[in-house]
């Protein structure tokens, strides 16, 4: 993480960081644009998940006079189509990839680089998002043509949504990185990662809109980080949240990013002490 290179003056450091981000992001855009077919395979596989949920809930809505808990088929369509964008945005350098990074000996090289290791992943995946969103647009148009979403966002909601999908990206990045530290202690983290994913699935609004969950689950979800990576960004666009809830949501994302970063820093410091490079 740290090197013995001469430190830059404060002013220069910020400028070089901005420079680093824009270069790294452009690199990943160029790199990922070469793999359009691979990216599409990945996306089509991913789109299957919300389409299944959408079909199941629309079927139930139709069986019960058009709505489940007051949510109509068109609103489900809006929820799950926006879901596909949010899901694309919160694909980050996941915990299981830390195992790959350690096993393949890449970490040893990464440690020699001067910036905090998070910057490399954050910048690379952030650049990739621009490719992903571009490739996502035709999918969104296709899904909208088939499922007729009921979506009428206000200007404020659109602005909050654009900020919230990046908030979701940061919250999820921090927590996945923290979880990834587990790989320094065990090579069999898979079950723990699965457990985390399952919890996220249920408490984030990824499986179903949280409004369909029992009351106590909804309350619980408010106090955990998961909801702010899925449910909140989606609902900021599709539900009529009050201005207060919208701003509170963005505040919660900032708070969870900070908490996640602090957790990561502690875990990273403990983890790096245990690390001995492959071949050392």
């Amino acid at each position: 993480m740290s090197s013995r290179a001469a430190s830059l003056p404060e002013e220069g450091r910020l400028r070089s960081l901005v420079d680093f981000y824009s270069t790294q992001m452009r690199t990943s855009v160029v790199a990922q644009l070469q793999y359009r077919a691979a990216n599409y395979f990945y996306m089509l596989g991913m789109v299957a998940e919300p389409v299944i949920y959408l079909v199941v809930w629309s079927t139930i809505a139709e069986q019960h006079g058009g709505a489940v808990n007051g949510i109509t088929a068109g609103q489900f369509a809006a929820y799950y189509i926006v879901w596909t964008l949010v899901r694309n945005m919160n694909i980050v350098f996941g915990a299981p990839f830390w195992e790959w990074r350690i096993r393949e000996g890449r970490l040893a090289g990464d440690l020699l680089r001067p910036l905090n290791i998070l910057h490399y992943d954050l910048a690379y995946f952030a650049g990739w998002k621009f490719v992903v969103v571009g490739l996502w647009l035709p999918i969104a148009v296709g899904l909208s043509a088939v499922f007729h979403p009921d979506l009428h966002p206000s200007a404020l909601e659109i602005v909050v949504f654009i900020i919230a999908i990046w908030g979701a990206y940061f919250v999820r990045s921090m927590f996945q990185a923290t979880l990834g530290m587990l790989n320094f202690w065990t090579t069999r983290g898979a079950a723990v990662f699965d457990l985390y994913m399952a919890t996220e699935m249920l408490l984030s609004g990824r499986l179903v809109p949280l409004a369909l969950m029992p009351g106590w689950v909804q309350t619980l979800a408010n106090f955990l980080p998961f909801k702010w990576t899925f449910g909140f960004p989606i609902e900021s666009l599709v539900s009529n949240l009050s201005t207060r809830s919208l701003l509170l949501g963005l505040g919660a994302q900032v708070m969870w990013t900070v908490i996640g970063y602090v957790l990561f820093t502690f875990a990273w410091r403990a983890a790096i002490k245990r690390f001995s490079a492959v071949g050392a």
């Binding site: 691979a38 596989g45 998940e49 299944i52 808990n69 069999r188 079950a191 369909l212 969950m213």
Partner: protein
Amino acid sequence: MNTLRVGWLYFKVGVLNELQYRVNFFVQLLQSLIQVGTGLVMLSLVYSHTTELNGWKESELLSLLGVQILLGGFIHTFIQPNMELLMQDVQQGTLDYALTKPEDAQILVSVRQVRIWQVVEVISGLVLLIVGLNGVKSSIGAVDALAFAFALGIGGVLVYCFWLILTIGAFWVVRMEHVLELFEGIYQTGRWPVGVYPGWLRYSVTFLVPVAFAVTVPAQALTSRLHWPTLVLSVGFGVVLFAFTRWFWRFGLRHYSGASA
């Protein structure tokens, strides 16, 4: 006969290899429990808002979920590891080692690996299936059970063919690892009766991607919904797809130039 002998030999070596990593059994057990748990939560959520989905009651859908997880376990044990290895071999140029062996190459690439701990998934699917069937009113006769086993076997063949066709794509498009996500995503459609999907999707997951034949048809056999023509159609489709896969494999091989050529 020789095919069976080669398959059995690779199977034995594969099992011995896997038995070295016993802790993986417990990891797999935990993963299966999580998978089943999430499936059950989704089912109970759906049925807390309705009593039947497209004519399927909760216990019937539980059986369907059981079949889907069971077949998924079979795929993860026998089919997927081989297909992943094949893709990796094409990427790294090591497929030549398999091609130069005297045995038929399609057989070799289909039996080289086995992930035996994934059998836990087969068992957990079976448990769900039995629990689900206990809740289904009508009793299951010997004929139903036979039809189920037969349909499931055909389902296995169909999924194998589909996976191999996808993987053969690696001869043209080298970077194929995301196909795994594509398959896993599409396979999830099997958790729900194919009848709930709108027409275009229903036909896609029946003929384009044979998930409906592989999962829904066996489950229909157990819940007394199976019409004999469906089973005959499924057999016919299996034969045609298998022949096509064989042809496509040879066609793909002709386009494969190897790593050192």
